[in-house]
């Protein structure tokens, strides 16, 4: 059965499928690292912690990029009311990106990192070995090429079609993503400058342009599942992303407190990042408001649940847990502790993993030719996955927060001489790390339930 409005939307399917495969990999490596936190020599010879972490974080970034690309290929033609400019290009770029991604991850796993650096001629243009930007320079160039082709394809589609607010905001976010990634190629010897501009990629992605992408995807899904007037939803979208950028751009300052930078960043960063929770709070109000004012009963209940869930969890993870340690006098003690890890986990899951799963939930039944929604049994299974993963992530965050508070108490607050060393402190945190690992196992069970929901069919009528 053909259930797509525009046939070229079908190119989104491999992007979504591959994103979810990488997501499973990310969680498996997360569990390995979580265990290494308490059983330090677990797999130490085969997969050292730094490798596991690199795989865990890089898989996250890459699967979210696949998810964003799939989302764009799915929603842009429908918004523009025209077929995608070149479905063939989209499929070619899928294979290029997937091959580059898999080769890079295998490189991390199969050879020592320094060998990978030599093998990919890192010394010609050194960009490797910086957190989240560990990819070989050649892979980074590949990412740029894929992004350019992707933006060209979407741009041509939008040019010949309808220019909705959702399309324009999504496009701005994606262009910003590509432009700020270029700072990954700037790696001066001076560590202070290196770090300052490294944040132009990392912060201006996740607390800047990615919020535009998230906002646009959420707005699209809300229009579809609630039937609320587009004018209303797009007005909210503009208000939310205005708040996100007005707070988030100068909010970058919260990374410049302790970095050979003038002290005024402590004021600028504290004030503006204190406002950063607001757009996320507005997103919660808006998602619930729109669902309550719905003009139709969309059969895809699971997609509605994801849409509400991503708003709430993004507010908690990015908003509340971000605010927790963003003020300079607090951050002086919490900077680089387990508090940071707690915030990172819930924020990425709530804002970005969940928005991708929101649109996957909405789009997959159509992409697979099932119709508006999966059968009831499949949706129930999917919602089991939602609740297991989400509740597990809440517990992961709480346990890491407990670990972080104790770490600050033992290692950061006392004077030199009184304070426990890093390693001695880590031993005291073991109970929290064990509980985090258990919560991680439950997360994996939730993920298995979620993935398995794609195979659940309605019971045959007797």
């Amino acid at each position: 059965m053909n259930t797509l409005k525009y046939q070229s939307q079908a190119v989104a399917k491999p992007y979504f499928v591959f994103a979810l495969i990488l997501f499973v990999g990310q969680i498996l490596f997360g569990l390995i690292m979580g265990l290494q936190y308490v059983v330090g020599d677990f797999l130490g010879g085969a997969i050292p912690f730094n490798v596991a972490r690199m795989v865990h974080t890089n898989l996250l970034i890459v699967w979210l990029l696949f998810g964003f690309m799939g989302s764009a290929y799915y929603l842009v033609p429908e918004e523009a009311e025209t077929e995608l400019y070149s479905p063939k290009l989209a499929i070619i770029l899928f294979w290029v990106f997937a091959a580059a991604g898999v080769a890079t991850i295998l490189g991390y796993l199969l050879v020592p990192y320094s060998t990978l650096a030599d093998f990919t001629f890192n010394e010609l243009w050194p960009t490797m070995g910086r957190e989240f930007l560990e990819q070989p320079t050649i892979t980074k160039l590949g990412i740029v090429v894929v992004c350019l082709g992707f933006l060209f394809n979407l741009g041509m589609t939008i040019l010949k079609g309808r220019k909705t607010a959702i399309n324009m905001v999504l496009m701005t976010g994606l262009i910003g993503l590509a432009v700020f990634f270029l700072f990954a190629f700037y790696n001066p010897t001076n560590l202070a400058l290196d770090k300052y501009f490294w944040w132009f990629v990392v912060h201006l992605w996740v607390e800047g342009v990615w919020e535009l992408i998230m906002g646009a995807i959420l707005a699209y899904v809300l229009i579809k599942i609630t039937g609320v007037d587009r004018e209303v939803i797009e007005k909210w979208l503009y208000v939310i992303i205005a708040m996100a950028l007005i707070s988030g751009i100068l909010g970058t300052g919260h990374h410049f407190y302790w970095l050979a930078t003038p002290e005024y960043w402590q004021w600028v960063g504290s004030i503006f990042s204190a406002i950063e929770p607001l757009p996320f709070f507005a997103m919660v109000l808006y998602a619930f408001n729109m669902v309550n004012r719905r003009r139709r009963e969309h059969p895809n209940k699971a997609a509605t649940l994801w849409a509400l869930g991503t708003a709430v969890m993004a507010f908690l993870g990015a908003g509340v847990w971000g605010f927790l340690h963003t003020l300079a006098p607090v951050n002086f003690y919490t900077h680089g502790s387990q508090i940071t890890a707690a915030h990172g986990h819930m924020a990425f899951y709530g804002a970005y993993a969940m928005i991708v799963m929101t649109i996957i939930s909405f789009a997959m039944p159509k992409l697979r030719g099932i119709g508006e929604a999966n059968c009831n049994r499949a949706q129930v299974r999917e919602m089991w996955g939602f609740w297991l993963m989400t509740v597990s992530m809440v517990f992961i965050t709480l346990f890491l927060t407990g670990a972080g508070v104790l770490q600050v108490w033992l290692q950061r607050l006392p004077e030199s001489g009184e304070a426990l060393s890093f390693m001695a402190t880590q031993d005291k945190l073991a109970i929290f790390y064990w509980m985090r690992e258990v919560a991680g196992v439950f997360f994996l069970l939730g993920l298995i339930a979620y993935i398995s929901s794609f195979w659940v069919k309605e019971k045959a009528q007797a």
Partner: protein, 146 residues
């Protein structure tokens, strides 16, 4: 939201607000990069420091350690390890011994791999960590433990 507040107004706040604050951000960045030479210890960047930074990156040290609070939270902060482990008098000897003793192979303890660096490379790495520790980063970390 009230009907008198239109989508057009919201869009203008979005475009105007983000351009305005981005320009302020660029201006502050310009000012900061002018100020940084006073604080970032760049006059002491030697060829050895530069080689040390490349070794730091090439071996993915950030995958376990933090440096000035950023990185992974699995192993100790190294921004001030120079002061913590011997300073001018003893740090180089400490680092040389430490790197060569890896992996410690203590059952259950977190393992640092052996990166097979030669004496010259370990010296470069030490120079990089020394240089980093002498940056003025507004008094962070709160104590010597990092």
């Amino acid at each position: 939201m009230s009907e008198s507040f239109t989508k057009g107004m919201a869009r203008n706040i979005y475009y105007g607000g983000s351009v305005f604050f981005f320009l302020i951000f660029l201006a502050l960045t310009f000012h900061t990069t002018k100020e940084m030479p006073e604080r970032d210890n760049r006059q002491n960047i030697t060829e050895s420091v530069e080689r040390g930074k490349h070794l730091w990156e090439k071996n993915n040290c950030i995958g376990c350690h933090t440096l000035l609070g950023e990185g992974a939270y699995f192993a100790p902060e190294l921004g001030n390890v120079f002061q913590r482990r011997g300073g001018e008098a003893g740090f180089k000897m400490f680092l040389n011994g430490w790197m060569k003793a890896q992996p410690l192979n203590i059952p259950g303890r977190r393992q640092m791999p052996n990166f097979h660096l030669n004496d010259q490379e370990i010296d470069d790495l030490a120079e990089f960590l020394k240089w980093t520790s002498e940056m003025d980063i507004n008094g962070w970390p709160p104590n010597i433990e990092g």
